[in-house]
């Protein structure tokens, strides 16, 4: 597909102030769910000897909790440049199909609005944006609004975890850590479009469990499940067509 022809007016409609505000408000509702994760990353960074400046720089630029946690588990002295980079590459690979799935939105904008917004892409922002897209609104500023509020909350919580982590002492199995899974699960409700989703979702879950059960770590269960489920849906539709 060729690069869409830039049209300043269409570009403005695809990136509105109202969309940004809607996104920011939508994000506020789930910051509660994401806060515990930020705390954990801040605490882990402290435990591995990163200063507050280093912790915030990492969280601000990388903005991906699972990848940061895994990289921190690999942390050494001097810092493992290659291992940390590879950990981020592998674990964040799941975000590549997310960007592709947002094409209907991103095609309407260009320049920093497209490539800058993509820099803030994270799981929950993606999920909220897909729900918004399926409600009939195509506004890339929504994604940026969601992501910036999440980013601010992320930075605050990482700093909090780094400074007060030692005093908090939350055990790994504590129910607050369920909050980030609960947030993703809840967003599945508006993403559900009807019974046509059932087969792809079941295949996705089964494939992810099989790959997970085979002992493969992130991102393989997510990637295998996502592609198996999506392929099952596409295959079924093409046979029906």
């Amino acid at each position: 597909m060729s690069e869409p022809i830039p049209d300043p007016l269409a570009e403005r409609r695809g990136f509105t102030r109202q969309g940004f505000d809607r996104g920011a408000r939508a994000a506020l509702a789930i910051t509660l769910g994401l806060s515990p994760f930020g705390l954990v990353v801040g605490m882990a960074a402290d435990q591995h000897g990163l200063s507050l400046v280093e912790t915030l720089l990492m969280s601000g630029l990388v903005f991906a909790g699972t990848a940061q946690l895994v990289a921190l588990q690999l942390w050494t002295d001097p810092a493992p440049i290659l291992a940390a980079t590879l950990a981020c590459l592998v674990i964040n690979l799941r975000m590549a199909p997310m960007g592709a799935a947002l094409a209907p939105l991103l095609d309407r904008v260009s320049g920093w609005r497209r490539w800058g917004t993509l820099a803030f892409l994270v799981d929950n922002a993606f999920a909220l944006t897909v729900a918004e897209q399926r409600a009939g609104r195509r506004d890339a500023a929504f994604l940026l609004g969601v992501a910036l509020v999440m980013w601010l909350n992320w930075m605050t919580m990482c700093a909090f975890g780094h400074v007060f982590g030692a005093a908090l002492k939350l055990p790994p199995g504590h129910p607050v850590f369920f909050a980030s899974s609960a947030a993703l699960l809840a967003i599945l409700v508006p993403i559900w479009r009807g019974p046509a989703e059932l087969l792809p979702w079941i295949i996705a879950g089964v494939a992810a469990l099989l790959v997970h059960g085979a002992g493969l770590g992130a991102p393989w269960p997510v990637l295998a499940g996502a592609f198996a489920g999506a392929a099952a849906g596409a295959f079924r539709d093409r046979r029906a067509a």
Partner: protein, 101 residues
């Protein structure tokens, strides 16, 4: 308050790798002409990504996690308030852990 050069390099490497993942999928989609099957897949991909993400998590959480998950879905389906649904999930899991002793 320190920023060591080796740590800075590791962070920059992590940031670059993450951005490549975030922008790469869209960039590739726009650089090549995807066959209709792939476009159809993109239609189903979002939901599948999250199911595939959550399935192993819930498999490890056990039955208490399933009950808490059902509470989240029920709350979100009925009330459509994300913050509330998250709180319901955490509260349910906490309650069940307390009850289980």
């Amino acid at each position: 308050m320190s920023l060591r050069p080796d740590v800075l390099l590791a962070i920059l490497g992590m940031a670059l790798a993450s951005y490549l993942c975030r922008a790469g999928g869209y960039a590739i989609l726009r650089a090549i002409r995807p066959p209709p099957f792939v476009q159809q897949m993109l239609h189903y991909l979002p939901g599948c990504i999250f199911i595939a993400f959550l399935a192993p998590v819930f498999a490890q959480l056990g039955w208490a996690g399933w009950v808490a998950g059902a509470a989240v879905l029920l709350a979100q389906w009925q009330l459509r308030r994300l913050a509330l649904s998250i709180a319901v999930g955490v509260g349910t899991l906490w309650l069940m852990q307390v009850l289980a002793g």
